[in-house]
Point group: C2
Chain length 252, copies 2
């Protein structure tokens, strides 16, 4: 388990994406990954640590439960690691839990399912939630959106819902849960599946908003899915309403 002297840890963490250029490290930009790696350097006797998350989240996107693994040269108790990381991290990133895992565990390759939520406000503009709930501020037809979201359930080629520069990869994914709830003008879209392509959730929400606006019919979602081609019908919903809320892992 210790292999070449390293110990592998898995952390569960949450973050406010407002002040970051997304999860993934990019030279010269403020990213979640860089903050995590910097927070670990002093814990790891000043030796650089590479953090492997379950996947990236885009600029302005939040996480209630993201996971990442990394190897440390030092052995530290799970509680101490959590506390040490939190004392080194900025206030908008928080380690919820740290635990030792077998050294063949991989946060990205072992993903079984991911769950995302997207929040939209149909009511009056809310300055307090401007970075946390998409301020759409108009009424949508919820019943039509509820009808439309069902077309996303199951296994489909989601080529019509990816960004144009990604169309070469395999776009087949399985969505096991796709729901819409509404309370006090706040609409919550929930999607759970075995994996999501870049911008897929925001593109699905974008089309559902067009259904809610009655610009297209619920059945148009099926037509667009079957087209298997990203085109001018696409709308990407704003990033700030999106949350990674849960990740489940395969038994390794």
């Amino acid at each position: 388990m210790l292999g070449d002297g390293n110990v592998r840890y898995l952390i569960k963490f949450s973050y406010d994406g407002t002040n970051y250029n997304g999860y993934q490290r990019q030279k010269g930009l403020n990213t979640i990954q860089e903050c995590l790696e910097d927070a670990l350097t002093s814990i790891n006797n000043k030796k650089k640590v590479i953090v492997h998350a379950t996947g990236r989240t885009d600029k302005l996107v939040h996480a209630l439960a993201q996971y990442a693994h990394f190897d440390l040269d030092v052995k530290i108790t799970e509680n101490k690691l959590k506390r040490a990381m939190n004392s080194n991290l900025p206030l908008d990133i928080h380690v919820i839990e740290a635990r030792e895992v077998p050294d063949n565990f991989h946060a990205r390759y072992n993903v079984k399912s991911k769950e995302y939520k997207y929040l939209l406000n149909m009511g009056e503009y809310d300055p307090i939630n401007r970075n946390y709930i998409y301020q759409y501020n108009h009424i949508l037809n919820i019943d039509k959106m509820k009808e439309a979201i069902n077309y996303f359930k199951g296994t489909h080629d989601f080529r019509s819902f990816v960004t144009e520069n990604k169309v070469k990869e395999n776009c087949v994914r399985t969505i096991t849960k796709a729901t819409i709830k509404e309370k006090n003008n706040i609409v919550t879209f929930t999607f759970k599946g075995n994996g999501f392509l870049r911008y897929q959730v925001r593109n699905m929400v974008g089309i559902l908003i067009k259904v809610g606006e009655e610009k297209i019919k619920p059945s148009d979602v099926l037509r667009i899915l079957n087209k298997k081609n990203r085109d001018k019908e696409g709308v990407t919903a704003k990033a700030e309403g999106l949350y990674l809320v849960d990740v489940k892992f395969k038994k390794s």
Copy 2:
């Protein structure tokens, strides 16, 4: 009604207090009042406008429904005024409603009641709500706090719950509603009354937290109230959990 050619308007507005040094204008500091007055200058043909709110809120405190009146030299429809102000205001301040009022209406003197909420998180630290819910992150005895909060109801001299430099003024206020609710580790304190002294809500919450920590008994709240003297027992709860949520006006 038009008096000396001016028209009086009342606005209902909300704000995220995170990036402000409180409501009230202070030289060289970023305040809500200054933003409102700046937003009105161009609407009022470049002539300075003085905005009178129902009262101030402190640094970092939020408002879901604050009100203010002001006089304009120009007559503008209520909807146009709302839209014009919102297009001139930063994204963290929002005018919900604007309406013309009689020129003897005064946002501060006509207040009948105010309602505040205070939010506290007993659960895991939440980076997304760090500026919107006080991150206490420990379990409190809710039943004891519910017993204690009842002592605040009714008409009392709240001298023990004001800041030390204010003890000369009349501190008698009437609290008509004082409740505590808890859901998913979020505690919501609600206070409604005919008026609140500076820091009064945060000082009442501070003492209730001490009750919840079982450091003092619920009945100690009555003892401290009767002492009519701010002393070392006082604790001021952090600003970021506090919201002005409603203001009612007397019929003028």
